[in-house]
């Protein structure tokens, strides 16, 4: 270390090292700025907002912002909904996309390339293009006409309404059609293609069937891909707004949906009393933002090393 440092200083490399750290600090600052702002703004007492000497660190702390935001967002309930959707979809996505990715990576079958092009197509078409029929199909759930067939046989109307039900998220995820599932299939395909096929061949020789090989040999060796897909799916489902707003109805609200309507809801809660005071509203909204990102933030602190390492070495080409 010492000699290396000496070498660096002698060769004028210290300047570049210094520059590098300066740039890094600047980058870190501008990335952390919104979060720092959130913290600072949400714990500030209203009097401090008018105090020009207070820039970052408030002199008077106040927790009313958090209390109001917590109440208005129905935090625990919303958090529960978000976690259920995030975790459920993430697990289902890992399984369904790993299966599809493995199929694409290791087997040859007719129209394989066309099917894979379709996987990419699902990524390119924005959800908004298909949201209307998507919504109405969820409202009158009738996969391939099976439900109407059963209704005819039973002689009763058996309409299933999935809007407002978390199944409207779980079923697409289980079938590899959730939020950005195409990307997960792509990741798994790349990963399995990079794995040596010697393992599978020896498993086949030992008489293990494809499914058994997949679950007992391939999946345990695909931990990096699984962690990546799980965390991506979890984060994107947790942070989703558009589909959650449409498909969960008015009664079930996820954290992000609750956050999006916080401004309106706050006006209703405070009841015109302090709504004229933009600073109070702002304090509460910043507190709401902080509360909304808190679960992800905690997860991130625990899992970031694992996530980053997995992604760096996943071998996407």
């Amino acid at each position: 270390m010492g000699t290396k440092m000496m070498y660096r200083i002698k060769n004028g490399k210290w300047f570049w090292t210094l520059m590098k750290y300066a740039i890094l600090i600047l980058l870190a600052y501008q990335l952390l700025y919104p979060v720092l702002y959130m913290i600072s703004a949400s714990i500030k007492a209203p009097t401090d907002s008018y105090d020009p000497s207070v820039i970052w660190i408030p002199k008077h702390l106040s927790a009313t912002g958090f209390q109001d935001a917590f109440k208005t967002m129905k935090y625990m309930d919303a958090l529960g909904q978000s976690l259920q959707i995030g975790l459920g979809c993430a697990i289902l996505d890992v399984i369904s996309c790993a299966l599809a990715g493995y199929g694409f990576a290791r087997y040859k079958f007719p129209m394989k390339n066309i099917f894979f092009a379709c996987v990419i197509l699902t990524l390119i078409v924005p959800t908004q293009t298909i949201i209307l029929p998507y919504y109405s199909n969820m409202k009158y759930f009738n996969p391939f006409g099976i439900m109407s067939l059963i209704s005819k046989i039973m002689g009763r109307d058996l309409a299933i309404n999935l809007v407002g039900n978390k199944l409207s998220f779980f079923i697409p995820s289980a079938l590899g059609a959730g939020i950005r599932s195409g990307l997960y299939i792509y990741i798994f395909k790349q990963f399995f293609e990079g794995m040596s096929s010697a393992l599978e061949e020896s498993a086949y020789v030992d008489g293990s069937g494809p499914l058994r090989t997949f679950f007992h040999i391939m999946l345990p060796n695909a931990k990096n891909a699984m962690v990546t897909v799980f965390l991506f799916s979890f984060v994107w489902h947790f942070n989703d707004y558009y589909l959650s707003k449409q498909l969960l109805g008015t009664r079930t609200r996820t954290l992000i949906v609750a956050l999006s309507s916080l401004r309106v809801d706050l006006a209703a809660l405070i009841g015109g009393q302090t709504t004229t005071d933009p600073i109070r509203v702002q304090t509460r909204i910043q507190a709401g933002c902080l509360l909304a990102i808190l679960p992800m933030f905690l997860l991130y602190i625990v899992a970031q090393r694992k996530l980053a390492d997995s992604i760096e070495h996943i071998g996407i080409k």
Partner: protein
């Protein structure tokens, strides 16, 4: 007697079985709604108690969007203008990824901060951020933040700069935020790409006497071209399907506030065609530069 199926046929069937769940989901949750959406676009849909009833209106919805609805074309052009951030995102995320590649003290922390937007940067949060954090400041709360438009506006106007210059600078500052908070996934993909370039290539180049700059332009950049394409495509889609995008909001309002489902479908189909055209152009432009390493 059971007939023996040959191994190759069996493999085909197994392959098909593996993708069957995806295929079902693809048909059910993509192809069916997509075709329906296309059909809706040619109809005038009314919601009645019996569900939706449509009457065929031919291409009326499309011609209305293209020739009579002045808003749509304007918003499309605006969205296209937003694409100017794509090269900026690429340069920024590539530089950041390069900074994160080599080991040095503090690298893990820095990497964690770099990926932060991926974790918490949902569209809703970005929207609130833009309204509150980077707005010129709520009256009375105009404290001086280094990055906030409010503080800088005061500083610049006291320096005697003209108003349009200040506005321009403010725009750039709010764009910096947009830029950095949109680049999380791209940094991540570039970093993964950088780790895929085998170390021996660099060693060989060093032996041949290539300096850092030559190594970057002759090894790193060509080897990253597939990743650059992926990132361009990702960024374009990300910008076009963003929560704050005006056309997305317009389609949403047309459908759910004005209850004009047919027209909203036509708008979304046109919008998709626009995205597809942009992506095809990007692909054709970049195709010549893509390097596919053979190994």
């Amino acid at each position: 007697m059971k007939k023996k199926i040959p191994y190759t046929t069996k493999k085909k069937i197994y392959g098909f079985l593996f993708i069957t769940p995806w295929l079902l989901g693809f048909l059910l949750f993509f192809i069916v709604p997509f075709i329906q959406s296309c059909l809706y676009a040619f109809q005038d849909l009314q919601t009645t108690d019996k569900g939706m009833v449509g009457t065929w209106v031919g291409t009326y919805n499309f011609s209305y969007a293209l020739f009579r609805d002045t808003d749509f074309i304007v918003q499309c052009v605006n969205s296209l203008k937003d694409l100017i951030t794509v090269p900026l995102i690429l340069v920024y995320s590539l530089c950041f990824a390069l900074l994160l590649k080599k080991e040095y003290p503090g690298r893990t922390t820095m990497r964690a901060i770099a990926f932060l937007p991926v974790i918490i940067g949902s569209g809703v949060l970005m929207d609130i951020m833009k309204q509150d954090v980077f707005s010129s400041g709520v009256k009375g709360a105009d404290t001086v933040y280094l990055f906030s438009g409010g503080g800088l506006t005061g500083l610049f106007s006291s320096m005697g700069l003209p108003m349009n210059v200040i506005e321009f600078v403010n725009n750039i500052i709010s764009k910096i935020f947009d830029l950095t908070w949109r680049s999380g996934v791209q940094i991540l993909l570039f970093l993964a790409g950088l780790h895929n370039i085998p170390e021996y290539v660099y060693e060989a180049a060093q032996l041949e006497g290539a300096n850092a700059l030559e190594q970057f332009f002759k090894i790193t950049l060509p080897m990253l071209t597939p990743m650059i394409l992926l990132n361009v495509v990702y960024s374009v889609i990300d910008i076009f399907s963003d929560f704050g995008n005006q056309i997305i909001q317009m389609i949403y309002n047309t459908a759910f506030s004005n209850v004009r489902f047919g027209y909203a479908s036509a708008l979304s189909i046109l919008y998709f065609i626009l995205i597809a055209v942009v992506l095809v152009v990007v692909y054709l432009l970049m195709r010549r530069f893509i390097v596919r390493p053979e190994d």
